[in-house]
């Protein structure tokens, strides 16, 4: 008999499988030429991670159901058009997957450049979040070049920091709108306090109906902070001198 909770128990501290582990019949597929066997219902991202491939990811994490919004875990699959997101693509027997190629490198870099075009320069150097790891994986650890055409555009740098919660703060300037916090609030905590308000470029994490974190339905379980890959939701205790944004250029 298969138990649902076995999946939760397969979570490992040292590795983020990208999508939740699954129970299921073994399925063998090829990842970068290596035959890899994972349970059915697993994602290609999970299989690639188990195969040892380093697929950059931002919105995907193994404690949350896949979402497919960040578009950096793209791969190539024989017989499939385009570049499917590995997190939302279930494995199939005999599938042939490539996790890297010239085009994939370029595409991922192109996507991450878009993230960087709306992330504060002052928070790149010395950062150690998952976002910073992803930057290094796509070769953008230095941030966006000084003369990049994306510079000078609209950003969220002026949106105020929400420091209402005594324990953590939300800095919209660093939010990459991956919805991990929203999903953690729904799937893990079950409180449904967070949502994404607005559309398009204006999309922003919002507690309840545009309230502050403290005033909202948020119960401060910390699941959103834990889920945030980009230091946008972060413990205040990691800023012993207080949280001060760099002066805008």
């Amino acid at each position: 008999m298969t138990f649902i909770w076995n999946e939760l128990r397969d979570l490992r501290d040292a590795v983020d499988l990208g999508t939740p582990p699954r129970d299921g019949q073994p399925v063998t597929l090829s990842i970068d030429g290596v035959d890899t066997t994972v349970p059915a219902r697993s994602s290609v991202l999970l299989a690639a991670t188990i195969a040892g491939a380093t697929v950059p990811k931002l919105c995907a994490t193994d404690t949350l159901e896949c979402f497919g919004s960040c578009r950096v875990c793209l791969v190539e699959i024989d017989g499939r058009r385009g570049y499917p997101a590995s997190c939302t693509t279930p494995v199939e027997s005999g599938m042939v997957v490539r996790t890297t190629s010239e085009q994939l490198v370029k595409l991922r870099r192109g996507v991450v450049e878009l993230y960087l075009s709306d992330y504060p320069d002052s928070d790149i150097d010395g950062g150690w979040s998952q976002f910073h790891t992803t930057l290094a994986q796509v070769g953008l650890e230095e941030g966006l070049p000084a003369d990049h055409p994306y510079r000078g555009g609209d950003t969220h740098a002026d949106v105020p920091v929400d420091e209402s919660n005594p324990y953590f703060l939300f800095d919209p300037a660093k939010c990459i709108v991956c919805s991990r916090c929203v999903r953690a609030c729904e799937e893990i905590q079950g409180t449904f306090a967070l949502t994404i308000a607005g559309r398009g470029f204006s999309s922003q994490v919002s507690p309840s109906q545009g309230e502050s974190f403290l005033a909202s339905e948020c119960v401060s379980c910390g699941a959103c902070v834990q889920a945030c890959p980009s230091d946008a939701l972060i413990e205040k205790s990691l800023f012993p001198e207080g949280y001060h944004r760099a002066d805008p250029r």
Partner: protein, 700 residues
């Protein structure tokens, strides 16, 4: 530049707040704890957390923290700071003097469920080998002692039958007198996950709690019963199951005592417990009782989770038995997704129960009156043990008031705030000649103490905790004890000063001693827990990696025993003078009597206890939300701010008990459970009146 500091060290440990026992990674920068990260591999929490474990850890370095031992001859004297040896020698001298003057049994001890298994074990060992009596109790006396009694009597094991994850296999979840989303939030989230996956939720609780109705989680049936009618209503549920033949005859025949089953059917099948009779008495729609009974019995996999709303009654143990009976009658025990599970309060309250910190029991729930059991400990400890039961904590206070009990060693408890009838406890402590308190802060109780041992927080020591699902997890030292000694070292120091020599280099040696003397723990060791992450007892040669689900083949007591759970109304009744029934509970952001959480930023959410009252009752008293009101019971009175709430029915008022200054236990009665003396916190007849408004001073 807002780059976060990067922790330089990470230690995996177990949260001490509630009975869920979440795994955390404590991260430090230069020896200072900067954050607690929920541990993905923690089997109780799978990487989830709540506000308390995740954020409210700063209490450990609050300015109120006392880090030097102190003594004084008289409670009116100023404290005198001393070194550890002086403190031990003074306390031991007083205890020995008192025993010489008033007898061996005139002293006792109470252990803390905030301490590790090893420390609790050492406390009961202290009482038995250093005090040479059985006057040892633990704080589950005032919360879950009825669980131990009631589940032992029916099923044979006073602990949860399941592991938490098992709820994901349940089709029906029955929550009785518990509010997991506030009290056990990480389990509450798991319960909500089960409901979102399609499990049907049933709730029996006087209040419309968050558990009853929250986003994507709504109870299909909620029995908002009148406080004090648990046994009546549960018998009515059983009545429906018996009358409609919804019971599992095959299970009962194979697994339970048939004669007792017949007696039980006669009892609950009587018209006395018909929903049509019970409904009006308990303030319920009879059809709701029937619906709940049918859904529960229908399963196919139905599970029960319950809390202090069941136990803290004069029929607390009887209420627990009702639940045990229901699981047996319907065959809802002994596999995944079913069972009966107490939601334990404090981090190690299950450990407190398991480790022999009882006046009548040694570790593993074995009677001190049993010569064979006692003999095994006598062999281990090389000492003769008292063969008679000792005093329970309330009885220690009772005996103190009459002058028969003179000294107590209290580890990490604050009975003045947490125990019923504050005046009685205060009088008891004042009558004692030596009160030794071991705590982080000068608690309300420490104000009446003669010796203060500065305790260590759970961040400052190694050991193990046992959570509400019988899971034994590692507590690891993240920082050095601020007072210089871990709690286990303090108890050993006191023990040595009392003249019983023993020595441990590390708490792992204590767990080895527990394993040698306790069958359910016989397979446990630090090395094994380290290797497996955590282990659920029983862990022995039959189950070397522990046991997730109990009662799969037989019950520990052999045949399951249906107990006869006749309903007796509590003598605490609403009258013209005290027309409302006060019930108590807790809120998410505060923990128990608030000793720790009040010393964190959690006060941002809840900085005072408030009185929830229905709009009807408020209107009749001219009260609005925000008004101050005086609450008076037969035992005392206090003042609280009023909040008009739809969560309580007319006739019922509710408050939390997290703040010392609100003194809610001024109100509570000294009624208690017939079997265990667990206080009846959940029913107190009160009246509420508008507090007299201070006149503004003219011209000011």
């Amino acid at each position: 530049m807002p780059i976060p500091v990067k922790p330089d060290r990470s230690v995996t440990t177990t949260c001490a707040y509630c009975g869920v026992g979440c795994g955390f990674k404590a991260e430090t920068v230069e020896g200072r704890v900067v954050r607690m990260i929920p541990w993905k591999e923690g089997k109780a929490n799978h990487g989830h957390s709540c506000i308390k474990g995740r954020f409210a850890f700063d209490y450990y370095q609050h300015p109120d923290r006392i880090t030097t031992p102190m003594i004084r001859k008289n409670v009116d004297d100023p404290w005198q700071e001393v070194d550890w040896d002086t403190a031990f020698a003074y306390a031991a001298g007083e205890f020995k003097r008192i025993q010489a003057e008033h007898g061996t049994t005139s002293v006792g001890a109470v252990s803390s469920s905030r301490c590790t298994n090893e420390e609790i074990f050492l406390m009961q060992k202290f009482a038995r080998v250093a005090l040479r009596n059985n006057n040892i109790d633990n704080c589950s006396r005032i919360c879950h002692s009825p669980t131990q009694f009631g589940l032992s009597a029916t099923l044979g094991a006073g602990a949860a039958s399941q592991h938490f994850d098992s709820i994901l296999q349940s089709d029906v979840v029955l929550v009785v007198g518990a509010n997991p989303t506030e009290g056990h939030p990480v389990f509450g989230s798991m319960m909500k996950r089960a409901v979102r996956r399609g499990a049907r939720l049933l709730v029996i609780d006087p209040r419309r709690t968050e558990t009853v109705d929250s986003p994507h989680c709504r109870a299909e049936v909620h029995l908002a019963l009148r406080p004090g009618t648990n046994v009546l209503v549960l018998n009515s549920v059983a009545h429906v199951i018996v009358r409609e033949r919804l019971y599992n005859e095959a299970f009962v025949r194979a697994r339970c005592d048939g004669d007792d089953f017949e007696l039980w059917m006669d009892l609950v099948g009587d018209d006395r417990y018909s929903p049509d009779v019970v409904g009006p008495e308990a303030g319920l729609d009879p059809d709701d009782i029937r619906r709940l009974a049918r859904i529960y019995a229908g399963g196919p996999n139905s599970t029960i989770y319950y809390g202090l709303g069941v136990t803290e009654h004069s029929q607390g143990s009887t209420g627990v038995m009702c639940l045990g009976n229901l699981t047996m009658a319907t065959g809802m025990v002994g596999r995944e997704g079913v069972g009966v599970n107490p939601l334990r309060g404090q981090g190690n309250v299950q450990g407190g129960s398991c480790l022999g910190s009882w006046p009548h029991m040694l570790t593993g729930y074995r009677f001190v009156t049993d010569d064979v059991v006692r003999g095994s400990f006598e062999d281990e400890w090389k000492i003769t043990l008292d063969s008679e039961p000792g005093l329970r904590l309330p009885n220690m206070f009772d005996a103190a008031v009459t002058g028969s009990f003179k000294a107590i060693y209290i580890q990490g408890e604050d009975p003045i705030q947490s125990d019923p009838n504050r005046h009685h406890v205060e009088a008891a402590l004042r009558s004692m000649e030596c009160v030794v308190v071991q705590d982080l802060y000068l608690s309300e109780t420490a104000k009446l103490a003669h010796v203060f041992f500065p305790g260590s927080s759970s961040l400052e020591k190694d050991g193990t905790f046992t959570n509400a699902e019988r899971r034994v997890s590692m507590v690891r030292k993240v920082i050095e004890p601020l007072g210089g000694l871990a709690d286990w070292q303090i108890t050993v120091g006191f023990m040595n000063a009392m003249g019983y020599e023993c020595h441990y280099d590390h708490p792992s040696e204590v767990l080895d001693e527990i394993a040698r003397t306790s069958p359910a723990y016989s397979g446990m060791s630090f090395d094994k827990i380290e290797a497996l992450g955590s282990v659920q007892w029983p862990c022995n040669t039959d189950a070397p990696e522990g046991t997730e689900v109990l009662h799969t083949v037989t019950f520990p007591r052999g045949k399951g025993s249906f107990m006869l759970t006749g309903y007796l109304p509590t003598s605490e009744r609403a009258t013209d003078q005290y027309p409302l029934l006060l019930t108590t509970g807790r809120i998410l952001s505060q923990y128990n009597v608030g000793t720790q959480t009040r010393r964190t930023a959690n006060v941002a959410w809840h900085d005072d206890d408030v009185l929830e009252i229905s709009a009807d009752d408020a209107a009749g008293r001219g009260l609005s939300s925000g008004d101050r009101a005086t609450i008076t019971s037969r035992y005392g009175s206090t003042e609280l701010t009023v909040s008009i709430s739809e969560r309580v029915n007319p006739g019922v008022v509710y408050t939390t008990f997290h703040f010392a200054h609100t003194m809610v236990n001024n109100l509570t009665s000294d009624l208690d459970d017939w079997a265990t003396n667990c206080p009846e916190y959940k029913v107190t007849a009160v009246d509420v009146v508008r507090a007299s408004i201070a006149q503004p001073v003219a011209g000011s």
